[in-house]
Amino acid sequence: MTLRLRWRKLVSGIMLTCTGACAFVAVSLLFFILGYLVYHGGRALNWDFFTKLPTPVGETGGGMANAILGSAKLLLLASLVGVPIGFFGGVYLAEFGGRTTGFVVRYTTDLLNGVPSIVIGIFAYGIVVLPFKHFSALAGGFALGLMMIPITLRSTEEFLRSVPRSMREAALALGASRWRTIATVVVPAAYRGILTAVLLAVARVAGETAPLLFTAFNNRFWSSGWSQPTASLPVMIYTYAIAPYEDWHRQAWVAGAVLLSLVLLANILARTALARGISAPRA
């Protein structure tokens, strides 16, 4: 073995170990973030957090019950906006789309996907908050829904496309019209994948704060109905984290742990469901 060869092998070994170290760093970052949040947040976790409202400024105690409900409402609204548009849009692209219309729709969807969340907030403020004259859960839900559209649309299209042509052709051969085929054969075959994609989309917008800052605003009380400002977990975390009160910091950690757990749980569920494969076509 010449010296040069030995050197090259050494370099090879070192560089490959470095890459291993990089991967290790990346993974340990996740575990560190998760672990720290769970530790810090879990320590202070108590029932009050889930059941009580915030107390006046400077007083300790209280919880974020209204923020949890507020986040749930916002996500519900977001799904009502994002899922139908994304789903039917995806159906259009996969089943009916032509070359130009398909291209235009795909392009604008990607465009929408790339819009920074703060700009979506500006847009929602302009077209929902100003005309209706107040901040509302509707505006917040609308902004989040806009962010969900690209994810659901592209995923629906992909899963529908992955259904084998033979299934479609079999249905058509048996005399079903196109829409019947889509509704009763193609979509059910892909629905598990679509549902998991929706779950991923919801998890993604659940943590968004910026668009909510000037749409849903914030609320110290329960927000009734849909047209009132509402508290939400991410906004509360932000508000509490930058303040000086120790008690608020503690609550911010708890809220962070809760939010992160829910988001990660949804992601894990979705990805394991996907990994197991899209449900096989029924015989």
Partner: protein
Amino acid sequence: MKKINGLLLYLCLALGVCTRAQDPMLVNGAGATFPLPVYSKWFDEYHKAHPGVQINYQSVGSGAGIRQLQSGTVDFGASDMPMTDEQLGQAKVPVQHFPTVLGAVVPTYNIPGVSAELNFTPDALAGIYLGTITKWNDPAIAGANSGVNLPSSDIVVAHRSDGSGTTFIWTDYLSKVNADWKSKVGRGASVNWPVGLGGKGNEGVSGLVKETPNAVGYVELIYAIQNNMPYGRVRNAAGSFMKADLNGVTAAAAAAAKNMPDDFRVSITNPEGKTAYPISSFTWLLIPTKISDPVKRDTLKGFLKWMMTDGQKFTEPLSYAKLPKEVVEKEMKAIAKIQ
């Protein structure tokens, strides 16, 4: 099947959430962080006394409060900075200012190893915020603090990153006492800061100062107290170094109280008066005088009356001074203007 079940679940959740709609009347307000501790206490107490009413107040800064009131996206605003004629003109409905409490803005600091109360001359404060005084042991500061061992570390300046009435009070004061500041920066809710880090709200600035060694910031008195942060004395127009407290603030308002204009817009920084604290201010609720919804109107009027009578007893425990009697009388008459 699963999809239908999921849909049903969604609907139930929606309905369950919607049935809460029988709820209390919700009034939305936004504005200053300066009086947030006392406002949040008031709205909480008022809700306890009148369960049918919820007043949701968000502390987003005086600038945001004024802006949102102008656009009509909130029912009332709050500000430590009186609205200018221009701003009043831009509002969709005429607005009346209602003073609520008197408060003080204090220079709070976090200097490792220094727990004593520092004395600040007006020029020292202006110099720090102009960036001309950069170290804690600068003669301009040390001169007023013989006996205190000030370190030679760099001063970390903290100010507001949002449009703030507290900033207005601070810059109003600095403009009155330092010509350099007046020409270079001026007074306003949002100024072109020569130096410093920005924090959001009084909470943000207190947070910054608390976490950063060698920092100095200007915050409303209660924020320094609630967070056990030291704050300094400021030299007033009569030449004495005053620590911010209820007496000092009340003394500062004494002259203005007697000559309160009808629209209640005054500035009481750097007043005459031997015991006055120089950086004091009223803070105002900005109430539209034409409210179309009769329930909201009565709610707001009811709250204002409560605030000026029962509400005033919650102010002193939180280190805000009560309104002078003459001002309260004048305000009661002004409530009638709200239609």
